[in-house]
């Protein structure tokens, strides 16, 4: 049974999540991928204000396809997360509490998740038309010049994801693969 959670995340919500939990996320999340992450961290280092409040925020690693007339957003599945690893620890230090993507994270990110109390979710890569149905509103709020890589504010309802890494060091990828590996 999936846990229903609300974004931005409270510390209590993050504490309650464990690797392997299925969740349905409702509320406000932000999109950001490679170039947006570089700009966000450059802004933080320069002491500038970010285009959204990082406190409890969830960033979804996605570059959606364009919306057709009448659509809120085009196809919108996750991109591979490790490319954001160079930037994620600083964002967590400044308040980021949730990341949605796909694929394995590196140790500095896992360490920062434990230190700051954050969680990493996977959405189903390639299920991009299905996921788009849970996105009810989308608005570019920064870096419009980046096209698909711009930062968007998304209103989501029951966005399906699974907890890969929790704040206690749990790792669903490690657990799952160990269970099914045959020598």
């Amino acid at each position: 049974m999936a846990k229903k959670i609300t974004a931005p995340l409270t510390p209590e919500t993050v504490k309650d999540l464990r690797a392997g939990d299925s969740v349905l996320i409702s509320g406000t999340i932000y999109t950001g991928r490679d170039l947006a992450h570089k700009r966000l961290t450059d802004s933080l280092k320069a002491g500038e204000k970010l285009p959204f409040d990082l406190a409890g925020a969830v960033i979804y690693y996605v570059g959606p396809s364009p919306a057709k007339p009448g659509q809120v957003i085009g196809s919108a599945g996750p991109t591979t997360s490790y490319r954001m690893d160079a930037y994620s620890p600083l964002l967590m230090e400044k308040g980021l509490r949730g990341m949605i993507g796909k694929g394995n994270r590196t140790q500095p990110v896992l360490d920062a998740m434990k230190k700051h109390g954050a969680v990493y979710f996977a959405a189903v890569g390639g299920a991009a038309a299905l996921i788009a149905r849970t996105i009810k509103a989308a608005k570019v709020i920064a870096y419009d010049d980046l096209g698909t890589e711009a930062v968007r504010e998304l209103k989501v309802e029951d966005f399906p994801a699974i907890v890969i890494n929790d704040m206690y060091g749990g790792d669903l990828y490690e657990q799952g693969v160990a269970k099914y590996r045959r020598e």
């Binding site: 396809s65 085009g74 196809s75 599945g77 694929g103 189903v124 890569g125 991009a128 788009a132 698909t148």
Partner: protein
């Protein structure tokens, strides 16, 4: 000599880009269904069912299966008796890609320069490979290739002394190291032989094969079968959550080789293995 109009080629390429990105091949859909029978992991089964649902939505609404609508890799078999009327062949391909990605609301994912990274905004240039063949036909294949799985690909220059087992170890290890990143269940394209760049092209080209097809050379048919079994023992499973179905297929293409070399390339494709062809 047969004349083919520039606009006919351009429009055909545009349609191939849209169809390839929105309509998943029957062989892949069947492979998902077959995967449901062999997958032991409940999470893995759930993922395969979601991919089947996703394919239906994309088909019905003509929206992309995946938001990464890829590099437009275009393979041409150009009959030596064909002449293009009204413009240059490659211009027709590039313009067709731009039209398809605009008209189909496909994502523009190409940057002008690898380091300065400014988007070209129309998904061009296309990557074009041309074979000149006898006859007066033009076969065009569009193979949109996603970036996430491309990143898990690799070329290795092995030695003849490494033998078949050296090749197999490299292929299985490359999939193992890719873990959850390339959107498993994957299709593994393997090129063996040729030069450094030729073997990478063989690997990419092998990804056009239909799932379920058997290699015409029994030696490589057996190698493909063994590689698929070994890859599916890794336990990675759908989306890397653990399971039996890590790959849907392994395809090998081999080519003559220099006496000093034995290059091998592994080109990983995500489960959205898209390609469409037309002959004009």
């Amino acid at each position: 000599m047969k004349e083919i109009q520039f606009d006919r080629i351009k429009d055909a390429v545009a349609k191939l880009c849209i169809d390839a990105n929105c309509l998943l091949g029957d062989d892949i859909v069947q492979a998902f269904k077959d995967g449901l029978k062999t997958e032991e992991s409940p999470a893995g089964k759930d993922i395969l069912n979601q991919l089947l649902d996703n394919e239906q939505i994309a088909r019905k609404e003509m929206m992309p299966i995946c938001q990464d609508t890829g590099w437009a890799v275009v393979w041409l078999k150009l009959g030596s008796g064909v002449r293009v009327q009204g413009g240059e062949l490659y211009d027709a391909i590039h313009q067709g890609v731009a039209k398809g990605y605009k008209d189909g609301f496909l994502r523009k994912s190409i940057v002008k320069d690898p380091l300065r990274r400014e988007n070209t905004k129309d998904n061009t240039p296309a990557i074009i490979y041309t074979d000149i063949v006898p006859g007066d036909g033009l076969e065009i294949t569009v193979q949109p290739k996603g970036g996430g799985s491309e990143n898990m690909s690799e070329v290795k220059m092995l030695s003849a002394s490494d033998g078949a087992e050296g090749i197999k170890k490299f292929v299985v290890d490359r999939v193992a190291r890719s873990k959850a990143n390339p959107c498993p269940p994957v299709i593994v394209g393997v090129g063996i032989g040729g030069t450094f760049e030729k073997c990478a092209m063989l690997a990419k080209h092998s990804l056009l094969r239909e799932i379920g097809s058997v290699h015409p050379d029994p030696f490589y048919a057996e190698m493909e079968k063994e590689l698929l079994e070994r890859v599916n023992k890794l336990g990675i499973g759908p989306q890397g959550l653990g399971g039996r179905v890590t790959a849907l297929a392994v395809f090998v293409e081999a080519f003559p080789c220099h006496i000093a070399t034995m290059p091998c390339a592994v080109n990983i494709n995500c489960h959205a293995a898209r390609h469409r062809s037309v002959t004009l």
